[in-house]
Assembly symmetry: C2
DNA sequence: TTTATATGAAACCTTTTGGTGTTATGTCAA
DNA sequence: TTGACATAACACCAAAAGGTTTCATATAAA
């Protein structure tokens, strides 16, 4: 059944729009928690929870700098999700090729 | 913020392992509801709910054939998710290129 | 050393999610 | 037409998700 279980924490992390926004945000550069939270309407603890889930999914890392915690994107893990999806791209191509064959035979 | 909203229903649909298993299953061929349900330990109504969410995400279509409802994968929508992820692949490549430049200068 | 700042952690609330069992409906087959 | 079958549609439940407020702690800055 492919590597569904490996991709699990990543897909869970990406399922929420706030978390995807954070990922996009961190693509432009690392940022501390409060700094990220200031971009959203929700409270800082709520954003901190999202960051924890992204961390569980292996999508971001945290570096403690004094009283700040710098969040940094690790895009590698996104590949696990991309790989899973790409598997079906290939399937789709095969299907189209088969269909083409059938059509051309007639 | 990229096309996060477009990808929303797809990511939501893929967030659950059962639904990803169904997607993988339908990649091998279309199947009716009960047939799909027989592969899982949960009840048929539970599977039917998952199918409904996959339908909302535009990942599968249903064709009514007599008293059966044939579920068929539409992998196109998976591209919305793949596109989103690919954006960060590009970003990562750029980062690596920049890093390489810096390293090589020294 | 006092005060302000950045954050985590805990307790709590509400809504959604993933399940169940039951009942109703349309369709196939004897 | 009668009975079995494939499903949808409910009503319902427990757990997880997403949020809030409050409080504690460590660090920076006055």
């Amino acid at each position: 059944m492919i590597q569904t279980d490996q991709a699990q924490p990543v897909f869970r992390a990406l399922a929420d729009p706030t978390r995807r926004a954070i990922v996009a945000m961190l693509a432009d550069g690392e940022r501390p928690v409060g700094d990220i939270a200031s971009e959203f309407q929700m409270t800082r603890p709520a954003v901190a929870k999202h960051l924890a889930i992204l961390r569980e999914g292996g999508l971001i890392s945290v570096e403690i700098q004094g009283r700040e915690r710098i969040n940094r994107l690790i895009p590698d893990r996104l590949k696990a999700a991309a790989d899973w999806i790409n598997h079906f791209d290939r399937f789709w191509d095969e299907r189209l090729a088969k269909l083409k064959q059938i059509v051309e035979k007639e």
